[in-house]
Structure formats: C-alpha cells, structure tokens
Amino acid sequence: MDNTAAAQRPEAGDHASPASGPWPITLDDVTVRYPNGVVAMKNVSLEIAAGEMVAVVGLSGSGKSTMIRTINGLVKPSSGTVTVGPHDITRLKGAALRHARGDIGMIFQSFNLADRTSVYRNAMVGRFSHTPTWRTLLGIHTAQDRDIVMRALDSVGMLEKVWGRAGALSGGQKQRVAIARALAQQPAVMLADEPVASLDPPTAHSVMADLADINADRGLTVLVNLHLMDLARQYTTRMIGLRAGEVVYDGPAGSATDADFEQIYGRPVQSRDRLGEQ
C-alpha cells in the first residue's frame, strides 16, 4: 500500500483488511508551534523501528502528548515530516488521513470512553475506519466486526463485561476496554498517551504488562508516553527523553541512569519519581 493507493480508497468499508504491520515511525525535523505561540516540539528527528517498544518520558509540558498526537495526525506539525509505515501523515487529508488513523491504535490517559454506552459499543469504535458510515448510523455490525471486537475484549480480560456500561467500570477496567478498542482497529502501530497516569501502581503495572504483551505477541510497534522512568526501564527497550520540546535523551531504557533522569527532568531523582513510593 502506498500513499496514492491510500488516498484513492473512496469508502471506509473498503478498508476491511488489517494493517500489514508492524510499521516503523519516522519524524524528520518536526516542529509544532501552537496558535498561542507555544513551541511544543523543536526540530525533533527520530526513527522508531518496526516492532520496537519505546517509552517517551519527560515532565508535563515537555511535548510528549504533542509528539504522539502528531504521529496520528491529531496535531499538524508546523514544519517537518511524520511517516508511519507507508503513510506520510503530514500530507494526508480527509478520508486518506482517516484511513491512516485506522491503522494506528491510540490509548489515552483519561480512557476517552463514552461512559453512557456499553463496553461493546465503545470497543466497536475501533472498527470505524473499517465500517461504512451507514452501518454505524443504523448500528448494524458485520459478524466479522463482532468477532474482532469480542476477541480484542477477550485478549484484555474484559469479555465478561462486554454488555455492561462503560461508566460502571473501574479505572483499570476502563483502560483495558480502551486497549481493546485500539486492538479492534487491527493496527500496525500502537500509541499510548500517559496510559497509566490515572491508575494506582498495581493497575499501572498490569496495564503496562498488557502493552508489553501486545508488543511481544502481536509484534506491534508500541510508543508509550510515561511520567515515570521506572516503568520505562521495566517494560520498554528504548527510552526517549523530551525536555521543552527537544530530545535530550535517546538510548536503551534499561541502562538509563539517575544522571540521565536529571538531564531529562532538570532535577535529581527523588523517591516520588518511583512508582509505589509516591
């Protein structure tokens, strides 16, 4: 699949097959300047190999969320190029961009579930780019879509809650449903924006283990934003440190030292920076 082919797909329903991943992610000299003048990313260049599991760490406001939103086109860069597999995200618009997003799963800090509807319908959101709009309007799902959603929920241990209301779930359960929603996309890349920031330490470890399993078992490229370096060291192979929109560290996660922490966070490591010691 190339960009031209992706741009020519006229109907969402044509996008029925899973992405042929895993895919690499490339950021080439990317700068993001918001309309209020804040520069969230400054000339960031990165290459993430297909199948890699990478953590992005840094303080609030360091540009982590902007970077992840730039990768799936939710934020347009002011300059530079973002490429995910065959998609040049920065050049895509309209239906072609929606199809590219369909190949990129995303998990959010606040889960972003529609609380008033069922777990099933929330997970079915992951099938949007594979489903014609009229089907969604009428609420008619194909047997294949139902099967994909049920398997995604089963893989994160949430199948028994499939008909329950999303709003009735605990934080950890909500994040699992959000992971299932992203898996239902059958993506080539999985992005996670602070997926454990709203969770207690045991649940945070459990969700991180789920992401590590997705990387190991399904071979997806996983990029996860984290506040805590400990989680990055434990669950990822590579760590990227962002400070004020610039990459200040890029290396193996396991060998990152307290000095590297100081370089990323601008202060010495403290006990509150370790999960479970807050």
């Binding site: 199809h99 997003r101 509807t117 992203a182």
Partner: protein
C-alpha cells in the same frame, strides 16, 4: 513546617499573595444594571409607563373575577374531557415529532459534534428565526393555511419545541467534556460515526430531559393555541371567557393544573431513571 509545629498548631510566616479586589467591578456592573432598569421605566425618555396607582383604583374588577374563579363550577367537567384529551394528544404528538427532529439538529448545532462552522451557524440561524416567531403567530397563520383543528396546533408545538430543545441540548453538548470523541477521531471515524456511536448516547439524558420539559410546556401552550382555533381546550376557554363564565374557567384551570403536575411527576420519575 515541622511535625512538631503542625502538632502545636504553629505556622511559619506565609507569603500569601494579595487577594484580587473584584468587588469594585461587581458593584459597578450591578449599579449599571440597576440604572438601566430604572431608565426603562421613565416614559419621558421612551421607557415603559408603570402606573402602579391603577392597580389600587381597579383592583376590585379583577378581584370579582378571581373570586368567581375560586368557586369552580364542577358541572362544566363533562364538557371538558374531550377538548382536554385533544390538548394532551397535541402536546404528546408535538413533543414526539419535535424529539425526532431535534436529535440531528442538536448535533448539527453544537461545536463538538459539528466542527464545520458554516453549517453549524446556518442551523443556529434558522433555529433563531424559528424561536423568534411567537407561537400564536404560527398558530394564526397555520389555521389560515390548513384550517381549524388540531393539525395547526401540533405543527405550532413542533416548531416551538424544536426551538427550545435544540438550543438547550446543543448548549449542553457545547459545555460538556467531549474527550470521548477524540478516541473516535483517532480511530479514523467520520464525524457522523463519532456522533452516532458516542455523542448520541452521551447526550440522551439532556435530550430526554428537554423533551420532557417541552411536553410540560406544550400542555400550557396548547391551551392558549385554542384561542385562535388551533384545537384543544383553548377553544372551550375562549367560549367560557366570552360568556364571562369565570367559575367554569376556574374549573378548567384546575384541570390543566392537575394534568401539568401529573406530567411533571412522570417526567421526574423518567429523568431519575435516565441518569
């Protein structure tokens, strides 16, 4: 502060920033509003004339009618059943039709569910026009167009309800946290898909609540619409008023009150279940 300080209730000197002084601004706005209100009641500069003395001079005329209304004539009751049922039917059908039409219109009129500024403003403009026309004007024109009966009343109620429901629901959507929609966008969904699968379920309580409120209003309004021939109990009210039968009017007003209270109780029960 050390633990010993905390136990002893001692606090070190704190560098508390000065509290912003907002009262002069609030007092200025209140004074301006009060001055404007007073100015609107001075006829010499184009304000309305408020002749409170006329209340003292003529209160006995109104008091006689109120006394008559407070002594209801129950013998009128059998004549009221049919028009009252007609009023209820108009209210219910009007609310139901407006509910169906208000769902897509509300989504088109709210920013999170319709990021397209052109179509959003077009929908809002049309609804502003619909809301600006008084319901009695709709009823009068529609009676002339389709004839005397319940149909012009129902169409009037639909137009009235849409104006209210769409405005209140779209404002509720505008002010609500819509993070859940970002997940649909990130998954490659179209705005229609996102609205149908996530925004609509999240908006049901607001839609249901406003439709139930419009049902309550419909009973009151449909009583008035009868005055211009748009069906319902209003026609009987007009007849009784023409014959100065304020005792019969008292009975009809009590009936409407009972119906409105019954609808309000049923609405509150439904709202609780929808939470």
């Amino acid at each position: 502060m050390t633990t010993a300080d905390a136990v002893a209730g001692r606090r070190p000197d704190l560098a508390i920033p000065p509290r912003p002084r907002t009262w002069p601004r609030v007092a200025g706005i209140a004074a301006a509003l009060a001055a404007f209100t007073i100015l609107t009641t001075i006829p010499a500069i184009g304000g309305v004339e408020l002749d409170f003395a006329s209340i003292a001079r003529n209160w006995t005329n109104g008091a006689d009618r109120i006394v008559q209304m407070l002594t209801p004539d129950w013998s009128i009751l059998p004549r009221t059943w049919q028009p009252l049922l007609e009023t209820l039917e108009m209210a219910l059908v009007g609310a139901a039709i407006s509910a169906v039409l208000a769902v897509p219109l509300s989504l088109w009129a709210a920013r999170p569910t319709n990021p397209n500024g052109v179509t959003r403003r077009a929908v809002r403009f049309v609804l502003n026009v619909v809301r600006a026309v008084p319901d009695l004007v709709y009823a009068t024109v529609l009676v002339a167009m389709v004839g005397v009966g319940t149909l012009p009343g129902i169409i009037t109620l639909v137009l009235f309800d849409i104006g209210i429901v769409v405005k209140l629901v779209s404002e509720a959507i505008d002010s609500a946290d819509a993070h859940y929609m970002e997940a649909g966008r990130a998954a490659g969904g179209t705005q229609t898909q996102i609205n149908r699968a996530t925004a609509l379920p999240q908006s049901w309580p607001a839609i249901a609540s406003q439709v139930l409120y419009s049902l309550e209003l419909n009973v009151r309004i449909s009583a008035i619409l009868g005055l211009v021939g748009a069906g319902g109990i209003g026609r009987l009210i007009d007849e009784m008023r023409g014959f100065y039968r304020y005792d019969a009017l008292g009975t009809i007003v009590l009936e409407i009150l009972v119906v409105v209270i019954a609808i309000e109780i049923a609405s509150n029960l439904l709202r609780k279940r929808l939470r």
